[in-house]
């Protein structure tokens, strides 16, 4: 699919509009956590992933695993934007009788590879998928998107050991480094620095990018790793795209009121 940066900008804005509408209507949390990954998802679903919305289960597709399942709104909105299901379903997010739960349920709509919501599962699931692809001699790839706070989970480090040991080059990790987690700034809650050094010592090729630059995202994800499995540390802004949410921790929990929604939609025109 040929998409210019301007096209991607339009798509990302549309996804962000969906996310803030969903947050407003449902009064759900994690608006900031969803907005920080929208540009990553836009590049993945409109430039990188080999997927077919009309045939979501086809065998040689690339797999995308959203391990930070609390950012579900961004994934649902992206899948709808890509044509996996009707956008009208987004109105059923997080409400009585709805279809889309707060944390990702892979039975809810087509196009979701795994259910998530409990942190520290997605990377191992992705590793299992990568092993199966290797066994089946399928050249598809697995992309796993995790939060920076999620890296606190011990199970993540079990798979961070395993993947380089097995030399699984068909799995790529993207870490959404938005610098905040449940109780505050990540550096204060649990300082993981130097993250790049830790990961390099575990046998990973570490690539640091601006997680809102379409060009940098595409370059980091498109190129296949050749010597070591790749982990992309994507520097992002929590609440990206809505001025009053950007970098404001409170939007890990808050949802916009009527006036805030109007302002957000205006900024995202």
């Amino acid at each position: 699919m040929k998409k210019s940066d301007t096209d991607l900008e339009c798509i990302a804005k549309s996804i962000r509009r969906s996310v803030v509408r969903m947050a407003h209507a449902s009064k759900a949390s994690h608006t900031g956590s969803a907005l920080s990954i929208v540009d990553l998802l836009t590049v993945l679903y409109f430039k990188v992933l080999n997927v077919q919305p009309g045939n979501p289960g086809y065998a040689v597709r690339d797999r995308f695993v959203l391990s930070k399942g609390h950012a579900s709104a961004a994934l649902y909105a992206t899948l709808a934007e890509r044509g996996f299901f009707e956008k009208a379903l987004l109105d059923t997010y997080y409400i009585d009788g709805g279809v889309l739960p707060g944390h990702v349920d892979f039975t809810a709509v087509p196009g979701i590879e795994v259910s998530s919501g409990s942190l520290g599962h997605g990377l191992s699931l992705g590793a299992g998928m990568a092993l199966a692809m290797q066994y089946d001699r399928i050249s598809s790839r697995v992309f796993v998107l995790m939060g920076d706070g999620e890296l606190n989970e011990g199970s993540v480090w079990e798979s961070l050991m395993f993947i380089p040991h097995k030399h699984l080059l068909n799995i790529t990790i993207i870490v959404d480094c938005n610098n905040y987690q449940g109780y505050g700034p990540s550096a204060e809650v649990m300082n993981m620095a130097p993250l790049d050094g830790k990961l390099e010592s575990f046998g990973w090729e570490v690539v640091c990018i601006n997680g809102h630059s379409f060009g940098e995202i595409e370059k980091a994800l498109q190129m296949k790793p050749c010597a070591k499995p790749r982990i992309v540390l994507a520097c992002t802004v929590k609440g990206k795209g809505v001025s009053y949410m950007e970098g404001e921790f409170v939007w890990h929990y808050k949802s916009p009121d009527d006036q805030q929604l109007a302002q957000a939609l205006k900024e995202l025109e």
Binding site: S115, L125, G126, G128, M129, A132, D136, S155
Partner: protein
């Protein structure tokens, strides 16, 4: 049962290339032949049970049939939330094979005893819970486990258990394995108390003149309620014998059926008390300290039947 497991799995893997074996560094002197024969379907994650269970789920999501083998408490409890979300919630075809059910690893200590595993596995929606009582049941259940949609927990003993089943009978997942009929009371066992149950039946008959029926409930979930209804309708006492905490295992499963049946029947659960073992000694020794030995059980059951 360990040997039966690996031999059966070898056969399944020969017939079906979807079969994988995943271990978290346990299986020394058991799984080597599988590794040699199917090197690209053998995965050792190192001592990392959470990763092992989720990797198996990832394989299952890609159409594979992974068997995760390990010591029962580690694959069920260390990785419990991985089992819950990645196996049960997503209903993936992961098979968890726990060796060392109950007190099988007696002298190793309580970390290695699996006395809560059936209760927690039974509480998971979508999970099938199997507890074969002898190698004959183990072979059939492991072979049939391939066909089940969704996750399966298979609780094995250790090794060298004798075959006590009638090997000319049918062994089917979900159906009680009937050892003998008897008119005075009904005994149900699960897993590694099956052999003990057969000894109790003989002692009751020879020592007390009591004729007991015995069935091994190798499928604890879904529970064979039909068989139990059939037994409670006789009006004779029902007892369960299991090597598991008295809370949540076979006895609880039977109690649920009996309580909702509307039929009054004398019922007693023989199980491990709700405490951890600090005894040092073999499975037989710890069983006897908790009166889960043949003589104690026969004595208590006889007094129950005679009171009736």
């Amino acid at each position: 049962m360990r040997t039966t497991f690996i031999n059966t799995l070898m056969r399944l893997a020969e017939e079906d290339t979807r079969v994988f074996l995943v271990i978290a560094d346990l299986g020394f002197s058991v799984v080597e032949e599988f590794e040699r024969t199917f090197p690209d379907r053998f995965i050792n994650t190192g001592i990392a049970e959470a990763n092992a269970v989720s990797i198996a789920a990832g394989l299952a999501l890609s159409g594979k049939l992974p068997y995760v083998y390990g010591i029962a408490p580690f694959i069920t409890m260390r990785a419990f939330e991985q089992v819950r979300v990645d196996c049960a919630y997503m209903k993936t075809n992961v098979r968890l094979v726990g060796v060392g059910g109950g007190l099988s690893y007696g002298p190793a200590g309580a970390t290695h005893h699996a006395v809560e595993d059936i209760a927690i596995m039974r509480a998971l929606p979508n999970m099938t819970v199997l507890a074969p009582g002898d190698p004959w049941e183990a072979e059939h259940l492991i072979a049939q486990s391939k066909e089940i949609q969704g996750p399966v927990y298979i609780r094995l003993g250790k090794n060298k258990e004798p075959v006590v089943s009638d090997t000319t009978a049918n062994c089917r997942i979900g159906r009680a394995n009937i050892y003998c009929d008897g008119t005075d009371l009904s005994i149900l066992t699960a897993g590694n108390t099956f052999e003990l149950g057969t000894q109790v039946v003989r002692t009751l008959s020879n020592g007390y003149g009591i004729k007991a029926s015995l069935a091994n409930i190798h499928t604890v979930k879904p529970f064979d309620a039909e068989y139990l209804y059939h037994r409670i309708k006789t009006g004779r006492p029902v007892v369960t014998i299991e090597e598991h905490n008295i809370i949540g295992g076979l006895g609880s499963a039977a109690a649920e059926v009996i309580a909702e049946s509307g039929i009054r029947v004398t019922f007693k659960r023989f199980a491990l008390p709700d405490e951890y073992s600090h005894y040092v000694g073999s499975q037989e020794y710890i069983r006897s300290r908790w009166r889960l030995d043949c003589a104690s059980l026969a004595e208590e059951i006889a007094s129950l039947v005679q009171r009736k």
